[in-house]
């Protein structure tokens, strides 16, 4: 019977049936970090259980590390305790850990692929909703809670039920200055924050095939923002080329067999999806969120919508609340809107390609007076590469702060926060109320849009003029 990519991966991981509708699935890779794992380790100990497969478990410190200096206590006392707990739990259970002293330390969803831990056909879980990122490699990857982290530590499996399947087919060529971030924001705008609930979303089409792995990761990263359980992209030669030679990639003697298997990972031509959405890549323009959830998004040259323009009462009400929180008026242009803070980073947009796109807007210019601008690379590997390519120098010469890797201002668990009432152009993934700090006003944009906003001191339609000529 014809199968979707999701159904193929699901079927190949069934260990056994728990009951009529629930299967026990094997987990190939379990990524852990300091915030969602300590209670799982305590629970394990309390029940006298041990970690079944420390060799398939991998840890990093990312959520509440300081990005100013590499010290466990740099982000405060409670953060230090949590980071120390992770180090102790990893040591006790022989789990490899990229701690703050490791040159490759970084955001879990940046380092997994970089280290070659993320491979096609795997099931990958992590106590973090943006685990969907790894779906870019054709792996079934999703976020789990701490009880489930404990379950995976104990058994290397997870009970699951089959999800519905959604195909998002994006054909055509993206215009200049339109990035995968704009694509996923446009998709979420179309489907809504709950549009993917209960589904695994597979992205396909010529626009996807043309994307780099970095771009595909940005796309899958935010599939959780439409509520999808996971995002998926069938692997191809771009995927294989990315993985080859990475530290944990299949070794030379297994490489051909691995690639042969990976090449079988696609949705059969006659596979049936529960829902199909088609999107024209050429019609997508640079996007910006105006509200307090990612579906409240528009093209940067549009005006802030009036709540009355929504026919659905729920959306009308949400728009009204969002505009009040964001300090915006209907009809306002965000290109007239001053920004206070610019954050370039997060598991969505902190990879080398993101930093290149941002730097291209910055070269030879200065950050506008009164704007605080941060670049937080996703990992030590990204940071070194950006320094080698001269990107770090471009940013610092322009007046950006160049930081150490971590999750940083995406969620402000460390000391990188946006103050109440401040407006932030952010390359992260959530514009929820208070996400970047109590009262903070977040506008989600691509790295190039964020960088342009830092220079102009307000939002800019980067597609309106040739690169490098915006005010």
């Amino acid at each position: 019977m014809a199968q979707t990519l999701y159904q193929k991966i699901y079927a190949s991981h069934v260990v056994g049936k728990l009951n009529a509708s629930t299967d026990l699935l094997f987990v190939d890779r379990h990524l852990i970090h300091e915030v969602t794992s300590p209670q799982a380790f305590s629970g394990l100990k309390l029940a006298n259980r041990s970690v079944r497969r420390p060799d398939l478990t991998f840890a990093t410190m990312d959520h509440n590390v300081s990005t100013q200096r590499r010290s466990l206590d740099a982000a405060g006392e409670t953060s230090r305790k949590q980071l120390e707990a992770l180090a102790a739990n990893c040591a006790e259970n022989r789990i490899p850990l990229l701690d703050l002293t490791h040159p490759d330390q970084g955001i879990v969803h940046v380092i997994g692929p970089e280290q070659g831990l993320t491979q096609p056909g795997m099931i990958i879980v992590c106590g973090d909703s943006h685990t969907s990122t790894h779906g870019a490699f054709g792996a079934l990857a999703f976020g789990i809670g701490t009880s489930e982290v404990e379950h995976v530590l104990a058994t290397q499996t997870l009970p699951q039920q089959q999800a519905k399947t959604l195909k998002v087919e994006i054909n055509g060529k993206l215009s200049a200055h339109v990035t995968p971030k704009d694509v996923i924001l446009a998709v979420i705008g179309k489907l809504g924050t709950a549009g993917g609930n209960g589904y695994v979303a597979e992205f396909s089409g010529s626009a996807i095939r043309a994307m780099s792995m970095e771009g595909r990761m940005t796309l899958c990263n935010m599939s959780i923002e439409m509520g999808a359980k996971a995002g998926l992209i069938a692997p191809d030669h771009i995927t294989f080329d990315y993985i080859k030679g990475k530290a944990h990639a299949p070794k030379a003697e297994h490489w051909d067999a691995a690639v042969a298997y990976w090449q079988s990972l696609y949705s059969d031509a006659d596979a049936v999806f529960d829902q199909i959405v088609e999107i024209d890549a050429a019609a997508i323009t640079p996007q910006i969120t105006w509200g307090t959830n990612p579906e409240q998004v528009m093209a940067v040259d549009q005006s802030v919508p009036a709540p009355e323009s929504f026919s659905d009462a729920t959306k009308r009400d949400a728009a009204e609340r969002a505009l009040a929180y964001m300090g915006l008026e209907p009809g306002q242009k965000l290109t007239d809107c001053k920004v206070d803070v610019v954050f370039i980073g997060s598991c969505t947009n902190s990879r080398i390609e993101d930093l290149r796109a941002a730097a291209s807007m910055v070269q030879g210019k200065k950050v506008a007076a009164g704007v605080r601008a941060l670049v937080v690379p996703g990992s030590g590997v990204v940071k070194r590469q950006a320094e080698d390519e001269g990107l770090a120098g471009i940013f610092t010469a322009a007046g950006f702060e160049w930081r150490e890797p971590g999750c940083s201002m995406c969620l402000g668990m460390n000391d990188d926060r946006v103050e109440a009432g401040q407006r932030c152009a952010s390359t992260s993934n959530r514009n929820f109320e208070g996400r970047q700090g109590r009262g903070a006003r977040t506008h989600l944009v691509s790295p190039a849009m964020a960088a342009a906003a830092a220079i102009a001191g307000k939002f800019v339609n980067i597609a309106a003029k040739p690169q490098g000529e915006q005010a």
Binding site: V15, S42, L56, G143, H151, G227, T314, E433
Partner: protein, 200 residues
Amino acid sequence: MSKIFAQGLVCPLDKNNVDTDQIIPKQFLTSVSRDGFAQAMFYDWRYLADGSPNPEFVVNKPEYKGASILLTRANFGCGSSREHAPWAIKQYGFNVIIAESFADIFFNNSVNNAMLLIQLSKTNIDLLFNRCQQGPQQWQIDLASQEIMFGNNAAMGFNIDADIKQRLLSGLDFIGSSEQLNPQIADYEQSRKASQPWLG
């Protein structure tokens, strides 16, 4: 058979898309404990900037003190996978949440904490909010018969996944039930190693 899963006062939180950052803000996530999150629930809505309770927020209203059933709208619990969100809600005293829909990860996390999440159509959710407008409500939730009972023989049915119902009724050990399949897990590991040796 009747099995009352919960009974008590209903608190109506009339909002859509309540995300996990609202349910529990990041500053409470640095704890290494499973306990102590009750005060953090809905922190930015519940407390004013000076730390005093916000009298306008529904949870703080005297008539909803001691509520154990939370009534809300669509896509409740969207956003992060933080299990701190259901921990905070349960530790505050809610063990039932009724909504039009829930985000997937939040739903699983809540079930893993023995909470009952009831999903109803928008029409039925509207009916329940209408009831709440008539004054504070005391409801009983019968899980066996899958009914919300309003008193005076009035009730509304709900659907629930059979496996989840069974788990909630019997209090099955989440990890323990999977460990019953330990031999199959070992078999799977062996065949995986043979067919895909690069996976380790």
